[in-house]
């Protein structure tokens, strides 16, 4: 999955940001420049896939 950032700007001066397809800490790091540029972060939520486990080719289960 390619990396993308989706922003939705409301008419109330709030913006919701969503990172998709990033691995590891890259999502936080890559979205930080937008948060810094736009204003003050009021909330954030880790998406469900953050808690999913990844099964490696050698059969070991690796927590993300």
């Amino acid at each position: 999955m390619s990396e993308e950032i989706v922003l939705e700007f409301g008419e109330d001066g709030q913006v919701n940001l969503e990172g998709k397809g990033f691995k590891g800490q890259a999502c936080f790091k890559e979205m930080q420049f937008l948060k810094d540029a736009l204003g003050v972060e009021t909330s954030f939520t880790k998406k469900p896939e953050f808690y999913q486990r990844e099964v490696r080719r050698d059969g070991q289960v690796k927590a993300r």
Binding site: I5, L7, Q14, A37, E41, E49
Partner: protein
């Protein structure tokens, strides 16, 4: 890893502020000053408020006062709108929200392009504006 984040937009970039004001109908009517300038009331009287970015009263509406944006020490712009213009000329909280929306879109597009993102923009039926950044 992916996540959601909500950000409350603050006005800090003069160029994007001017672009947003132009999108809201003030093209060619926005003054930008390095130093603060006085704001004037509907009778031409200088008000105690001052601003760096100004829309003069003749562009604001009937019996209007100047509309101003004063850059604070922390870099954020404070908005000066008279109570009269909030109540009678439509420059209320909803207008400020739409201004911040337009500003945020301009600021995000500018910052994303600096970082090499391709940006697509779409206006939603509910008034929201969606940007998708890819690279």
């Amino acid at each position: 890893m992916s996540h959601y984040s909500e950000v409350s937009i603050e006005l800090t970039d003069a160029g994007c502020l001017v672009a947003a004001l132009e999108l809201l109908g003030f093209k060619g009517k926005v003054e930008v000053h390095r130093e603060v300038q006085p704001l004037y009331g509907y009778q031409g009287d200088a008000r105690p408020q001052q601003a760096h970015v100004i829309i003069r009263r003749q562009h604001v509406g009937r019996a209007a006062n100047d509309l101003g944006f004063e850059r604070q020490a922390d870099g954020k712009y404070r908005i000066w709108v008279s109570e009269y213009d909030q109540a009678h000329n439509g420059y209320n909280n909803a207008w400020v929200g739409r201004l911040k929306q337009a500003y945020g879109v301009e600021k995000a597009k500018a910052e994303a392009k600096k970082r090499g993102y391709r940006v697509s923009e779409q206006k939603q039926d509910d008034g929201r504006i969606r940007l998708v950044l890819r690279r």
